[in-house]
Symmetry: C2
Subunit: 215 residues, 2 copies
DNA sequence: GTCTATAATCAGATAGAC
DNA sequence: GTCTATCTGATTATAGAC
């Protein structure tokens, strides 16, 4: 009795379809990716694809579930809360939003082809945001972050917006076609600059000491 | 010898098509809005629509041009630069992004159905961002804004991201279906909170004194 | 300018042989 | 599990009468 959306068959083909779909969704958007293209890229026939996923919606949902698990794991896994942990989690989030960037392109459009996504997306969003709120509260209590409670919610939302739509911004306004590691660094720095004005000296020092990874 | 993308016919029908298209684009996204739906909503036949716009791309471009003119007018018109003017212009921008919110849903997807939009969108983006940069520099010189030069660019980009994707955020994460004036206020407050840490006392007082409009 | 066809294409999805 | 063949419906766009 698994928790997955797509019910029946397992095996390597199914996994390959999901992986291929994710790649193509990211490249062209889920709406402009046809089942035909996915099947072809996965090296199977279209009819076969429909054996594994009885509709495109179920396939989209299966891809989403991978993101969901990764996101949950990232933000609940290890409740340790040193500044370094926050740093790593933020980086993990950036890599995740990049790996599943099609989810951040046009949610309304995505929900149009996969209506069952609406509820699950909202639930995930609430879960994650609650967790981040706790993290911010923890930082504040520890005296690492100095921010008024009413400003805290604004910061949280701005944080969320920047951390979610940095890719869309780079694509639309900077003409970036392929995101490279340096773009990840860029988005990362943007989010850090949101925090910067509220950071205590201690926290600032800790963050600056974290080395930039070279991938 | 007009500057518009769509060349030939003028008149009320053409204008009505553009207006109708904009409304439907905003409602369902430009990609999921069919020429049939536009024609029907405009009360004309589909063949007639294709008389006025020889392709869907030209229609998209015509709608974009209205946005472009409004945006240019908003950010170049009246180079006066009192804090109050900045305030009004920011509000104007929020109303504009709302009135043409389909442009901020999925730029890559939009460019897929209207490739000629790519260049014009990027050019507009550069123009606007340059203007905002000047505004920030002006505020800094006037001593109203206190921010280090290297932080200034980060602020500018975050500003741009929040001011562009606040709608997408509300739709995706708050489940907002119809944007009301209070949502405009919300987005407005989000952007102001980006500035807040860098505001001098004088500027802060001026902004707070600007009344909230009740539409 | 506006309409009535209708073409051309392509999407998601199904039936049934292997 | 995988393939071939096919259906159905929708979408952009055109030709030509009024």
């Amino acid at each position: 009795m698994g928790k997955s959306a797509a019910s029946s068959p397992r095996g390597p083909t199914r996994a390959r379809i999901i992986e291929t779909a994710c790649v193509l969704f990211n490249r062209n958007g889920a709406e402009r990716t046809t089942t035909r293209a996915i099947a072809e890229a996965a090296g199977i026939n279209e009819g076969n694809l429909y054996y594994h996923f009885r509709s495109k919606e179920l396939l989209v949902l299966a891809v989403f579930e991978r993101f969901e698990h990764a996101a949950d794991a990232l933000l609940t896994d290890g409740s340790s809360s040193t500044p370094f942990d926050y740093h790593l989690r933020l980086r993990g989030w950036f890599e995740l939003t990049w790996a599943y960037r099609f989810l951040f392109r046009d949610v309304a459009g995505l929900e149009a082809i996969a209506p069952s996504l609406t509820v699950r997306l909202r639930r995930l969003s609430v879960r994650l945001q609650r967790r981040v709120r706790t993290m911010i509260a923890g930082l504040t209590e520890a005296g690492l972050l100095r921010i008024a409670p009413e400003e805290s919610d604004r910061l949280l939302d701005n944080l969320w917006i920047v951390a979610s739509y940095w890719i869309a911004f780079l694509v639309a306004h900077r003409g970036v076609k392929q995101i490279a590691p340096r773009h990840l660094e860029w988005g990362f720095a943007q989010v850090r600059s949101l925090f910067a004005p509220y950071l205590g000296a201690e926290m600032r020092g800790l963050l600056d000491s974290v080395p930039v990874r070279d991938e």
